[in-house]
Symmetry: C2
Subunit: 310 residues, 2 copies
């Protein structure tokens, strides 16, 4: 049975002072912490390509897991909508070469935003099972510094750059339980690139998340014959402090199970959930948890992860 | 057990006269047929977006399969590296809305080129099994007319626009057998976009295909305990007449099992193999066949398809 064995990450060294950015828009620290949730944002060096972020995260995963040998990796999936250069070839192929993976590695990119980690888990697990593979890596790397408009207050205060690498294999720490997925392309325009720059209608995104995320989490738990009362933790995509506060409220008495942690780097798109897993789940005594990602598309996905009895 | 139930396609009405194009480069019909394999290329209307091609192929699939109801479709995967607009959001989300699929549909794009159909089959089948879904559609739609440089003889004579839609579900016509995948990012530069235009080093691509495709086909057959002698048909990505002739030669005594059919529309990237399946496999008495796609990345994938006993 295939599931999550280990998660590592790479956060570029560069930092943007979010208080200084906010001040230029006449906003103070109270505003930044209430609406965004972090006073610093991570930013990659201009010379770093998306595939470099991928390679760095995979190298960290390998360093933390001596049992995972480079030549045992049979699949590499990169979740990104801001890949290298001009989108052809795929970033996972470029990363394959930079990491030094075998040419027998199956590589493909999954083009998704903030829901991408949840979708990617099931896409890679399923692909590996369908193709008879034993060890794969799911990478998230969507550096929005490439597309953020620094004169647009709501988005320039929000996004940070990061990459994560999740080892998918047998004898896992976390089994993948029931999952549900959703798409509503009628809201595509609320999160999109136009003339090379990212545009977001924050009000629409908040309404969408408020209406869809917690109901989908409940659907997943129904599939598992469980309720929120039996869940140990709820790891939501860290879109912003405002969104997390709203969803925490909608979780009612179980709101305390939701984590708010922008990791002092901001909304890192598909990397926020694996970053939470790395920081909060690895050393926990949780027996189960729910992950839920939502955003660009519009697209959302939620899943139950279950600790694998050793 | 999940596999291929049905395949439909959409070919835009526009045609490029490949003989007229060739004449402008001082090349004649003999050259065109020997090197490319078609005197006409399909081309989409400038007003047609990639998601429109996707939607048209899915509508044709639905029209040919009254048993497949719109609201029974639970997953839509689009294989493309030339999606709508600027790559965010994903084309599958936009197509979800244009087709009128339920918002409970799991949608994602797989960014791959000419190997994309083979990878996509296993990614979607696996995703559906991992997520417990019954009906999904794999779409290929990679309109190179968006990126072809009309002054570059080798590529402007080669590529056509098309989309295909493959219904993946239970009680299939074709079961997915063993598969093998490969990636070599050290050759990424041989097929890439630079400054918005596609560049190809045809010699390098030919060498790569010649060295890797038939050996991978043999590996797949070994996994199945079979040899080429027992295979009914070999459906190779229709890169060009030159590539098909080379690979046919490498198949030796079994070369006659390879089909050369540019479908009078050209190299349609990830759509060539499903187009061959639609045109040649559906009405055949083949009990098995091999599919093999290769190109951008560099990336290659081969699989054995087995007719499902009714």
């Amino acid at each position: 049975m295939i599931g999550i064995k280990s998660i590592a990450s790479y956060v570029p060294a560069g930092r943007i002072d979010n208080l200084a950015q906010a001040a230029s828009f006449d906003r103070d620290e109270a505003f930044v912490m209430a609406k965004i949730g972090t006073t610093t944002l991570s930013v990659k060096d201009e010379t770093e390509e998306t595939s470099d972020l991928c390679a760095a995260a995979v190298r960290n995963l390998l360093a933390e897991n001596p049992a995972l040998k480079l030549d045992a990796i049979e699949a590499l999936v990169v979740v990104t909508q801001n890949g290298d250069a001009e989108g052809l070839p795929h970033t996972s192929a470029i990363a394959q070469h930079k990491i030094g993976l075998s040419t027998h590695t199956a590589c493909f990119d999954v083009a998704l935003g903030c829901s991408g980690f949840v979708y990617g888990l099931y896409a890679l697990k399923g692909f590996m099972e369908a193709a008879g593979l034993k060890n794969g890596i799911l990478v998230t790397a969507d550096p929005y510094s490439k597309i953020v408009n620094r004169t647009d207050r709501p988005t320039t205060l929000l996004f940070g750059d990061a990459a994560t690498a999740t080892w998918i294999g047998t004898d896992p720490v976390w089994k993948l339980g029931p999952a549900r997925f959703g798409t509503d392309g009628s809201g595509a325009e609320h999160l999109m690139i136009k003339d090379g720059l990212f545009h977001m209608d924050g009000r629409e995104v908040l309404d969408f998340a408020g209406a869809n995320v917690v109901p989908q989490v409940r659907e997943v738990l129904e599939l598992a014959g469980m309720t929120l009362d039996e869940v140990d933790a709820v790891l939501l995509h860290q879109g912003s402090a405002t969104i997390i506060d709203l969803l925490t409220q909608k979780l009612g008495d179980n709101g305390h199970k939701a984590i708010k942690d922008l990791c002092a780097i901001g909304n890192t798109v598909s990397s926020t959930i694996p970053l939470l897993l790395e920081r909060h789940a690895a050393a926990s005594n949780w027996e189960n948890l729910v992950v839920s990602g939502f955003g660009v598309g519009l697209s959302w996905g939620s899943a139950l992860l279950l600790r694998n009895a050793a």
